[in-house]
């Protein structure tokens, strides 16, 4: 964790790929109370990083800081830096809209727009000026989200007619259509059944070839199954961050051990 201090620092010294997101001494407060306390970590490219921890530990808050979704919550204050490809996304000159175009997000509950499947996927690209070959782009995104086979004959039907698992994959396709570098997933399977969950987990394996994925989950088995790296948060502080294998089998910290072995609290 010594490589994440400065953006100019050489990144070749570790075996990890270069970091896409770097969190530097970040504190986030709702009003006075800190929800995230001096957290630093770096998220490598083309890996799946899981953020785990008991509910209320601030994992969603941290995730939403990566694409500045906390901007919409009143009274949220952030200190420290979050660097995306080496540049601070919280400085004045940076447009949060531009950040969100590169860092996509999938939410806890599937939230498709009450429109057709096609419109759901096409809207993101079209508001950003990608109007050429929209059909191809929609198809590609749906294929990457492993949904194309199921919906290609009813693209213009309402997205609300899909099952919950399909809706969530549609939301992933919607995010992919923006061709982001990073996809943030905020407990993406918590509202889904086990079969749908397994499909999304498979999908995440395929997606990491092209994208960097950060997933927040309260499900430790899921974190252990899908992620390359795991960060354990408790009460807003980063307790441990490392290779998933190591965190789950040889945790350095007592609290982590208690949490991952289920002897928590």
């Amino acid at each position: 964790m010594n490589t994440l201090t400065k953006s100019e620092a050489p990144i070749s010294s570790t075996q990890q790929p270069r970091p896409v997101l770097e969190v530097v001494e970040v504190t986030i407060r709702y009003g006075e109370k800190p929800a995230i306390n001096k957290v630093s970590l770096s998220i490598p490219q083309h890996r799946i990083t899981a953020i785990i921890g008991p509910s209320g530990c601030g994992k969603s808050t941290l995730l939403r800081a990566f694409n500045r979704m906390n901007d919409f919550i009143p009274n949220v204050k952030m200190e420290g830096q979050i660097l995306y490809m080496g540049s601070d996304i919280y400085v004045r000159e940076v447009d949060p809209v531009e950040v969100r175009r590169r860092i996509g997000m999938v939410f806890q509950k599937p939230n498709p727009f009450p429109k057709s499947i096609f419109q759901n996927v096409a809207w993101g690209p079209s508001i950003n000026g990608f109007t050429r070959n929209l059909e191809a782009r929609v198809e590609q995104s749906l294929r990457r989200a492993a949904l194309w086979e199921e919906v290609n004959d009813r693209l213009h039907e309402s997205a609300l007619a899909l099952s919950g698992g399909q809706q969530q994959r549609l939301c992933i396709a919607r995010a992919l259509a923006m061709e982001p570098d990073v996809i943030l997933m905020d407990e993406p399977c918590s509202a889904l059944d086990p079969v749908s969950t397994a499909r999304i987990e498979d999908l995440m394996f395929e997606l990491k070839e092209r994208y960097t994925i950060v997933i927040v989950t309260h499900n430790m088995q899921q974190a252990a199954r899908v992620s390359n790296l795991t960060a354990f948060l408790e009460n807003g502080s980063l307790v441990e961050f490392g290779e998933t294998d190591q965190v789950f089998t040889r945790p350095r910290n007592k609290r982590t051990e208690e949490y991952v072995t289920g002897r928590f609290g």
């Binding site: 694409n67 979704m69 919409f72 939230n111 009450p114 609300l160 919607r174 923006m178």
Partner: protein
């Protein structure tokens, strides 16, 4: 065994309940009596000629052509001005406004404006539009006055409709890199539209029945022509009803009743449309 005391308590409770029920159903009775009275008085005068004739000194020749067209002009123009302005104001307050003093002031102010007597709007319209902006006693002056009158109603209804849109839709749009306006225009507004439309129709049906502001800006003149542009003088349905009702002769009272039937049927149709839109939205939405 029930004591006397308990029995008395139950009796009181029962009487109270019956009393409340009787009083509550009285509203239905009143409505029925009112509709029956109006229909009985006016139905005799209600024929095709009533709709196609101009007002007249002779009851049997009098009609509501100018009033009907005046109302159509007035409401169309009012809708054209008040809907965009009202919805825009609601969007600002619900989706854009920072939580500061000024927003709070605007909000409280809209609440208070909704309670200002309509005749005061009439005075505002008279001084501001008829005289100061020199629009005269035109359809435009009337529509602008009506716009100010129903704006609070539209804004309040539209805000409620916007507030009912689940926040997850906004979040999804923002996460795709949409700006506030893109999110509102493409995703939030379509979802809120049925609710907004319902509120707008109810506000407009209030405007159709409003009389006092039109009296103030001077729409109560003998008008035997149909307005052809926004700057033309006009009369309106409630004005014509008021005119006839304020005459002593029985025949004119019955003409007023016939006018009221036309007015109430119009309102009924608008309300039915609003209910239809609401139900359709509930069926197709989640």
């Amino acid at each position: 065994m029930k004591s006397d005391r308990l029995r008395r308590r139950h009796a009181t409770a029962k009487i109270f309940r019956l009393l409340c029920a009787a009083v509550a159903w009285a509203g239905v009775v009143i409505l029925a009596v009112l509709l029956f009275h109006v229909t009985r008085e006016g139905i005799r005068w209600l024929d095709f000629q009533f709709l196609t004739e101009f007002p007249s000194r002779f009851p049997e020749q009098a009609g509501i052509k100018s009033a009907l067209w005046g109302t159509v002009w007035l409401i169309t123009l009012t809708a054209a001005i008040s809907i965009p302005v009202g919805v825009a104001a609601a969007i600002y307050l619900e989706e854009f406004s920072p939580k500061n003093r000024l927003s709070q002031l605007i909000e409280v102010n809209i609440g208070n404006l909704a309670g200002v007597p309509s005749i005061v709007y009439g005075i505002l319209g008279l001084v501001l539009f008829v005289r100061f902006l020199a629009l005269g006693r035109s359809v435009l002056a009337g529509s602008l006055t009506m716009t100010l009158l129903i704006l609070p109603v539209i804004i309040i209804a539209a805000r409620e409709a916007l507030r009912a849109v689940p926040d997850s839709i906004r979040q999804a749009a923002f996460a795709l890199g949409a700006t506030r306006w893109q999110a509102v225009r493409a995703q939030v507004l379509p979802v809120a539209l049925p609710g907004i439309l319902t509120g707008v129709i109810l506000a407009l049906s209030r405007a159709i029945g409003e009389t006092a502001p039109l009296v103030m800006i001077g729409a109560l003149t003998y008008v035997a022509f149909v307005p052809e542009g926004p700057m033309d003088a006009f009369t309106a349905l409630p004005i014509q009803i008021f005119n006839w009702a304020s005459r002593p002769q029985e025949d004119f009272h019955q003409l007023a009743a016939a006018g009221i039937i036309v007015l109430l049927v119009t309102l009924l149709l608008m309300n039915a449309t609003a209910v239809w839109i609401r139900q359709r939205a509930e069926r197709t939405g989640r």
